[in-house]
Every structure is written in structure tokens, then in C-alpha cells.
Symmetry: C2
């Protein structure tokens, strides 16, 4: 299966700097990567944050996480058994590290070796049918017996059935909040069982972060991103599981769906997925056959590919103004910005980074951006 | 939809000759076509039947249907409202006529205009679930409302539900026995309702023919062959509906399947079909969209294409012996026979025709033949 050797050795100081950077205002995973690329190190990026935000037109200075705050988060995590890992380190799921919006630091609790094994995600409705729950359990058990780690979202219904059926072989729960803010509350026991049974839990959120509605889609990209593929067992139309499936497809992961009667609304989403090209699953062998060839290919990391780029020059005031004037509330393609502004891709990326750090930019799917309506 | 103008005008005498030929011993639809091609007319073929059978090594002369017997069948049919149509005539479903094993004469009862409209076949289990029956009905009704004729096999379960739900707009039943031997018996009332409501029934079997088990797969090719596509609603593994689906695929018809839970054995066959490439159906629009482009293409007839071939010469004794010696109880490809015998395709076809008329040849799927073990 996945042959993976951790390649990263991080100093304590560098880990603290990276934690400070990702926990600072307006810094998300993509901005983090741009900053690291632009400035060369997390330390240098931290120093330049105020300048970038000012150039981007920030109304007021955003909070920059201090070294003390970062050390406090690390210590609090240690008391809970949570360590913070960067892509490439042991305990950071290898496939997750290949995403271009991989969490720069991932809170990891439980068995490191389980997190390094090949994973299959199983997701589905919270209010699943008896048949759906039974089938999710059968599938999770068979996949676990075949050496795959089942990853899911610790939710009621399908998630719970999948975790329970694969408990013995090690299963991974992906949290939408901090490690100390388990949702739903009544699954704290399930999570404890998972950790005891050489499973693990992961989260990109700081301790104390109470999960909000918008954190779940964001979390779902970690479920699909960690896995070779996502199996949707039961899903109504417009359900969260379909967001996970869409993310899986965008991430180049396999999408599997379990069929159901057209008269059962809980099968509407999965039947639609199959119509759109998802692989129909009636048995674990359908999944194992499909992911076999992928396991034989070496992992490619989006992160490493970008590292070859030359550092970008700073834009001048005229270039910045030209680019900002092309932006509005309606999302536009970054490629169009480059073409219409007549500047280089590197300059456009830097201006967008400044706007982002000033809290003035929203990023959308498909390489689109707009001016933030909250600013 | 299908623009189709009947192109054939048959004299009474020619119809009688064709009926005599297809009702004679060892003459099936393919042999009928070969004979017509080889001899130029049904009359000439009837005259040469004894000679062919003798050259093929027939142990005894097969029955050749007399003119009186043929006229008696025609008259008995007329009393039941059954007329015998040839491909290309009004009342012979246009798509059915394009098969290379299209019935040379088809017993037709009911509304001619309904038989000329575009058809969709709906088939499935006799012991269907309540959900399966309900969905078959919904689908049949929606297809009928959209202008399609629903064609099925008059069986219990899915067939019955499909006929009933499309009754008002005209539905077509394909029989495995003669028009006076309805199976199952209790569906005689359903058939009567179908005929009254401007629907129709078709059969390639003579009056008085009681359907046997082996007649049903043979009949199923008429269900799929008449239609643009076949929808399988519920089907266990190794069920008759899957034979219809396989025939549909071989005939170049669309194959549609209705998904179901992997835990429901009645969905095992349909889920398998989807895995093999059948179009997943949850709504009539899935079918209508898929067949739209096919309706816009002109019908091509296998029959007409072959008519361009030159008549074949008679094989000599050496050629015949060489070909027969290559045959045995195991099926072989006709292409291999041509290659290994070193004779022309036309000679091989003629020798096979002789053997067939002598009752010594079995034809198999994929262009294979073997010596009959009954001879």
C-alpha cells in the first residue's frame, strides 16, 4: 500500500512561527502558502504581515498571533494528547498534504501509524435508513479487514455506523471544531473508543473552537482529501455528503455512491452522483478494485511543485490600482485579471495576497475572486 | 419522432409463400433470409427446400407447409383479428424489422398506428416489490404521456404494472405463444383491455402454439428489438429480464436500469447492469433524453443492406465435405470456418444453410455454429 516516508524535520521555532502565521487574522491555508512562497519563511512573513495588509487597504491592523499565544496553544494541546503536524511529517495523512489548501498545521490525536495508512472515506445522511446504516457497517468492516483505514466525520447516522464497524482496525474521525469541542456532544464516548482502539482524530481548528455551520463544508475537504476516495452511502439532494463528494471530485479523489430506490428520497443524492459518473458500489470489492491502481502510483504533492517558482517582486502603486479597479462584488477569473491588467501573474498574485490580508478579498471555486462585501 | 413510410406491397400469393416457408421444418428467421437471398423468392426457396436438406444430409424429409395449411392459418387469424405482416409493412414495428433475425411474418392484433410509433420496453421481475411495481407504473405513465408506446411481455409483476399504467395511450404486448395461447391465462382480460384501448399484441408464433420455457428468451428479442431501449425495473441476478437487457445491447438498443439498495436481492441484477454501463434511471426524463438523438437518426435496415449481395453458387461435394469435417459439437466461429476451409464466405454460408435445413446445425451467439447433437 502507500509507501510514504516522512520527509520534514521542523525546529520548534519554525513550528511556533508557522502556528503564529496560520492563526493570524485573514490567513487561510492558501494565503499561508503564498506568504511562505513570497517571503521565504514563516518568520519573514510574520514580519511583513502589517505592510501587506496596509498596502491592501486594511481599515485597521489585524491581529497577529504572538509567540506566547502559540506556545499556549501547543501546551494546551499536549495536555489533551494533541500535537500539531505539518505536511510531510509522520502523523499528517500523506494524501491530505498534497492538497493546495492542505492545513499548514493539523491537530492530531491518536495513533500516528493509522494516519499514515491508505484511507477510504465513508459519509452519508445523519437520518439514515436501517438498510443504509447496515450497509455502511458492512462496507466499513470489509474495507477495514482489507487494510484500509475508514475516515469519516463522527456525525450521527452513516458516519457513526462506519466508525463503529471499523473500530477494531483503526478508524479516523475528522472534526469540524477544536479537539476539545466534539460535535455532536454524545459522540465523545465514540471518539474515546476510537482513540483507545489505535484510531485517531484530526482537526485544523484551534482548541476551544466551537464548530459553526460553515465549518462543516470546510472540514469535509479534509475527509475527502485524506482519502483515496469517498463513498456516499445515503444522501438526500442538497445534503452535506454531496459537498464532500464534490470536493473529492475537485481534489481528484475517487467518488463512490451506493444506489437506492428512486422512490427513496435518501437515495436521490447517491443516484444523482452515479448519473454524474460516480462508481456504483454494492460491495467493498467495487472500491478496492477501483483504488488499486491509484495505490501503485507515487504521491504527488501540490506543495512541492509550486516551490520551484521564483519569488515575486513587489507591485508598484499603478499596478495595484489597475488590478483593484478590475475587481468588484462579482467573482472574476484570476486569469482574466492577469490578461486585463496587463501585468505579470506574480504581480497579480501579490496584489490579491495584500487584499486578502487586508480582509478585502473573497476567493471562490474555480480560481475566481471578488472584493469582500464585509469590508 | 420516427418518420416511417411503409415501403412494401405484398401480393396475396407472395404472403402465402412466405408463410409456408417460415412455417416449414428447420426454417428460422435467419435461414428464411438466407433462402430468400439464395433463391430469389419464397416460391423458389420452397421448391428447393428438399434438395438443400438432402445435400445437408437430412435423415428424412422435413415437413414443408402446404398452401392449404398456410391459408388455414391466415383465415383462423382473421377470425381473431390477427393479420400477418412482413418487415416494412404498416403494422410491423419499424425497428423490429431492422433486426437480422426479424420475424419474416409477424402476427399482429390491434391498432396498426400504435405499432408504428416509437416504443420503450419496460421489463422486470414477476415477484416485484411494492416499490418496484409503483415505480414501473410511474415510469410507464410518464413515457406514455410523452408520446412513447410502452412495450412489455404481459407477465405478472413489472410487465403488468407497465401495461396498466400506459393503457390509455396505447401499449404493446409481445407474446411468447400464439395469439390464442395467452400466458399467463389470467392476463387474458388485461390483453383484452389493451386491444380495446388502441394498443396491440404481436407474436411470431403460429396460432395454437402453447408457449414453452425456451420460447420466452426468443420472445424477449422482439421486446427489445421493437423498442428504442429497454428499461429493467427490478431483476434478481440470472433473471429473464437480464436476458432481454443483453439482447437489447447486442441489438444496439439502449439499456436502462433502475437502481436499488445493495441489500435488496431484487436490485442485484439492475445494479449490475449499471456497473456494466446501463443508464441509471430515476425518472422518465433520463430515458427521454437518452433516446432523443436516436429518434432523429434515420432507421437502417439490416435486411436492405444484405440485399445487395450477389447470389451464391452451389458448393461442390469436396467443399461441402471439407466444411462439415471442420464442424463438431463445440461451437466454432463462422469466420474460422471460412479461413480454415479455404472456401469463399458464400460457399460456407450455403453449406451451413443446407445443414440447417437438414436439422443438423445449431447457431450460437457471436456468429458461432456447431453440429446439432439431436441429429
Amino acid at each position: 500500500m502507500d509507501a510514504f516516508n516522512p520527509t520534514i524535520q521542523l525546529t520548534d521555532a519554525e513550528r511556533i512561527d508557522r502556528l503564529r502565521l496560520i492563526r493570524s487574522d485573514n490567513v487561510g491555508p492558501r494565503t499561508f502558502r503564498s506568504l511562505l512562497h513570497h517571503c521565504g519563511s514563516a518568520r519573514a512573513a510574520l514580519q511583513r504581515l502589517p505592510e501587506f495588509a496596509r498596502r491592501g487597504g486594511a481599515a485597521r491592523a489585524g491581529h497577529i498571533t504572538s509567540e506566547d499565544e502559540a506556545r499556549a496553544e501547543l501546551s494546551a494541546g499536549q495536555r489533551l494528547g494533541v500535537s500539531l503536524k505539518v505536511p510531510g511529517e509522520a502523523g499528517y495523512p500523506p494524501r491530505l498534504g498534497t492538497l493546495d489548501d492542505a492545513p499548514p498545521l493539523l491537530g492530531v490525536r491518536g495513533a500516528t501509524e493509522t494516519l499514515m495508512r491508505p484511507m477510504i472515506a465513508i459519509v452519508g445522511s445523519r437520518n439514515a435508513s436501517a438498510a443504509g446504516l447496515k450497509f455502511a457497517g458492512q462496507l466499513a468492516h470489509a474495507l477495514a479487514e482489507s487494510g484500509f483505514v475508514v475516515v469519516s466525520g463522527l456525525a450521527r447516522g452513516i458516519d457513526q455506523a462506519a466508525h463503529r464497524a471499523s473500530l477494531e482496525k483503526g478508524t479516523v474521525a475528522v472534526l469540524a471544531g477544536g479537539h476539545d469541542k466534539i460535535y455532536p456532544r454524545e459522540h465523545e464516548d465514540l471518539l474515546a473508543s476510537i482513540i483507545v482502539a489505535k484510531g485517531a482524530a484530526i482537526s485544523e481548528m484551534p482548541l476551544g473552537h466551537e464548530p459553526r455551520a460553515r465549518d462543516f463544508p470546510r472540514r469535509n475537504r479534509l475527509i475527502s482529501g485524506s482519502a483515496l476516495g469517498v463513498v456516499v452511502v445515503e444522501a438526500a439532494q442538497r445534503s452535506g455528503s454531496l459537498i464532500t463528494a464534490r470536493m473529492a471530485a475537485e481534489q481528484g479523489r475517487e467518488v463512490f455512491a451506493v444506489p437506492g430506490s428512486p422512490l427513496d428520497p435518501r437515495a436521490a443524492g447517491t443516484n444523482d452522483l452515479i448519473k454524474q459518473g460516480a462508481t456504483l458500489v454494492t460491495d467493498a470489492s467495487d472500491i478496492i478494485q477501483a483504488v488499486g491502481p491509484i495505490l501503485e502510483r507515487p504521491l504527488t504533492s501540490a506543495l512541492r511543485e509550486d516551490d520551484g517558482e521564483a519569488p515575486a517582486p513587489d507591485p508598484d502603486a499603478g499596478e495595484r490600482e489597475r488590478i483593484v479597479s478590475l475587481l468588484g462584488p462579482a467573482p472574476v477569473l484570476i486569469d482574466d485579471l492577469i490578461r486585463l491588467s496587463g501585468t505579470s501573474p506574480a504581480i497579480v498574485r501579490t496584489v490579491l495576497l495584500e487584499l486578502e490580508l487586508a480582509g478585502r478579498l473573497d476567493r471562490h471555486r474555480g480560481g475566481m475572486v471578488s472584493l469582500s462585501q464585509l469590508a
